[in-house]
Symmetry: C2
DNA sequence: AGTATTTACGAACGCTCGCTATCTATACTG
DNA sequence: CAGTATAGATAGCGAGCGTTCGTAAATACT
């Protein structure tokens, strides 16, 4: 009755499909402007159809028209070229950690407009909320984007995130963090759809996007804590919400998990804290070693890897042990998932080839198809980048009327 | 040039979308006939549109018209009802094992038309091809389906299957099996698209379909060998082609994998052969036990579980040990995948609650989100059922012009 | 038994949309 | 300055969907 239900199948829906098709083609060529003729070729539609769609998209502010001023130097009448107007719907990504808050603002086209990072010595939950507000304001100012223009925002938090309620369940270092409704807080600042997800998941999304293509990616974030994100053909795998919690993999033959613990067995075995502790112990046991020279009680995780890279046998033994524990813990999942690539990010990834090679050697003994093992190229920005990307996807999904049929089942 | 490229966006495509939408709605209500009014409601399209689509589908042989003869007892003019004409495109599923060949023929609607199973005492590769031909012929005759009518066929084979070349890579008990081009052989018999996949994958597909809904399913096939299939939101996860090979998960702290071995470490630890061997050893060590009474040297896997169900402490200890090894091997993958449910099928699944409870207890100690642990309801038919289902999906995907846009990137 | 009511099928009309074909505009070349 | 090649704008045609109306076939009521 009254109005027609959305999603039917009239001719108006056909037009929406075609407009969406044109916009999608423009989007795919990212920041490069496109000529109408190229759009005709890529979409397979007729020129008048494309022209009409482009007009409509220009009016709606989705596209911007470029003058033919470039060095196009071709015969004939110069083509008008269009590219998508990124400022039409900027998005915001937010990475909240116990010691660091990072905010990134991005274009609709994926261009990074600003990135603001602030570190501190461990905030309380309340202080953190304040810092988040400040950093968001700062990032928006730097990007010259008014707060009300932001089309979507995604926040990354450690811990297990309930996708629907937006609450964080299993929280590490910030006391009182699980009681905070971060989504509500950010929505108060921005007035746009706000989503929350696990930091490892978002990092995985960013890394998968950077690598491009299809396949299965297992992206490990390795710092004091260990987490992983799984991306299958561009889509994040969440399981029932807690997928990728590799930190809680049992290592010893009698290990048992306690969900109340802030750290899982694997984190206690090979987290950066544990690596440093192993290094300090090794330095005590071998005072003559290169490792001990680097600094006895103050020994850092980085020192261990530095000494190993320097061919110190004592440090190498520590790295071997860490690599072995890590590989043994991860091998079953690699057999089951059979990923195209395993990418390691986070603080420990700075160890570089020393660690990577050791892990690779171990994994070769424990898996059938040996996935590519790589270090994350995105370094610290992986999580924010992933958050921005998810926000972007959200905007595209919401704005583009996808030609998917309604399933009323 | 010349003809328009397929996948453009004309109004004729709109009609195809709507016809597909109608057909899909009919399909969803499976074997139950639908009235046109119901189709109008479900698709959201106008009645004339639906009527036209139904006419077209009737002409093309996709639908069949039911008389209003049923006990419909309602007011007004009786509605004509349509259901999909399964015989329009029957599919065939084939499960090839070293000792058993099973062929099922199914309706387009998913109704099982015939199921023929033949067991033998270990065939050679060449003999197996002959048996396959015979059983296919028999199953088609029983279903009263001419060979040339079969619209798609899917074969299940143990081992790792290369999706594209259709070759089997890691083969167990049948000598010379990897040299056989099973796809080519079946295509010679049927003249239709033929696909080949891993048996555990197909069983997982069937179980996921039987459970219905979305979510992540880890379906373990547990017999002499161990394999698993992963289904995420109805789609099979293949990884690079060898996903789910849980048989090769290392169990001991110093285990190492050799891809040349016919059995992996977990198979050697908890495969049905291993369980029987553990039972025989326990019977020797405890001659007074209930287990030993059941049969000394002839002790079977089933005997172990029977004795355990009979509360024999010796047998229970064996089951405990098996459950512990299995749970420890699988726990990391459950943490990473975080599946909605873990379903156990295959011969060992006949053990029932004794084993399931023991595994469940162990898993509770090793995982965060505890997935539902169930036994496969499909028993032996899981693999064929899954093969038929995949063939069905193939037909639907091929026949239905999906409204997905072409991505010419 | 005849009539009223209910339900669903069938046909005609008007609308929107996309495709083909044609015409116009622009800039470079000889 | 004319010619040509490329690209944008416009008109006519066909196809499909949705709305509205009329009609057929059952059941319920008098």
């Amino acid at each position: 009755m009254s109005k027609g239900t959305v999603g039917g199948g009239g001719t108006t829906m056909l037009r929406r499909i075609n407009v969406a098709s044109v916009l999608d083609a423009v989007r795919r060529s990212a920041p490069a402007p496109l000529r109408v003729a190229e759009l005709v070729e890529r979409t397979g539609l007729a020129r008048p159809t494309v022209a009409q769609a482009v007009d409509e998209l220009l009016d709606a502010g989705w596209l911007q028209q470029h003058g033919p001023d470039s060095a196009d130097r071709s015969l004939g009448r110069p083509a008008i070229r269009v590219s998508l107007r990124g400022r039409a719907a900027p998005v915001l990504g937010l990475d909240v950690g116990p010691h660091r808050v990072t905010v990134g603002v991005s274009d609709l086209a994926g261009r990074k407009l600003s990135l603001v990072r602030r570190s501190g010595p461990g905030w309380t939950a309340q202080e953190l909320l304040g810092v988040i507000g400040e950093v968001i304001t700062e990032a928006l100012a730097e990007a010259e984007v008014p707060a009300e223009d932001v089309a979507a925002a995604v926040a990354a938090s450690p811990g297990i995130v309930d996708e629907h309620t937006g609450r964080v369940q299993l929280v590490p270092s910030v006391p009182g963090w699980s009681a905070i409704d971060l989504i509500k807080h950010v929505r108060g600042l921005l007035d746009c759809p706000v989503m929350l997800d696990n930091d490892a998941n978002l990092a995985a999304l960013a890394i998968a996007a950077a690598r491009g293509g299809t396949g299965t990616l297992l992206a490990v974030q390795w710092g004091e804590r260990l987490g992983a994100g799984i991306v299958i053909d561009g889509r994040l795998h969440r399981g029932t919400g807690a997928a990728g919690e590799i930190g809680f993999i049992a290592t010893g033959p009698d290990d048992v998990i306690n969900p109340e613990d802030s750290r899982g067995p694997l984190e206690r075995a090979v987290g950066s804290e544990a690596i440093a502790a192993l290094g300090r112990q090794a330095a005590l046991d071998h005072p003559e070693s290169r490792l001990a020279e680097l600094g006895g009680d103050q020994l850092d995780t980085a020192d261990v890897f530095a000494a190993a890279a320097d061919r110190d046998p004592v440090a190498q033994a520590v790295v071997q042990q860490v690599a072995r524990s890590f590989a043994r813990a991860l091998a079953p999942s690699i057999l089951v998932l059979d990923p195209t690539a395993v990418v390691i990010g986070g603080g420990v990834a700075r160890a570089g080839a020393v660690l990577l090679d050791a892990i690779s050697d171990q994994l070769r003994l424990l898996t059938l198809n040996h996935p590519k093992l790589e270090l994350s190229a995105l370094a610290e920005d992986a999580v924010v980048t992933g958050a921005m990307r998810m926000a972007l996807d959200e905007v595209w999904q919401r704005k583009l009327p996808t030609p998917a049929m309604t399933s009323t089942t």
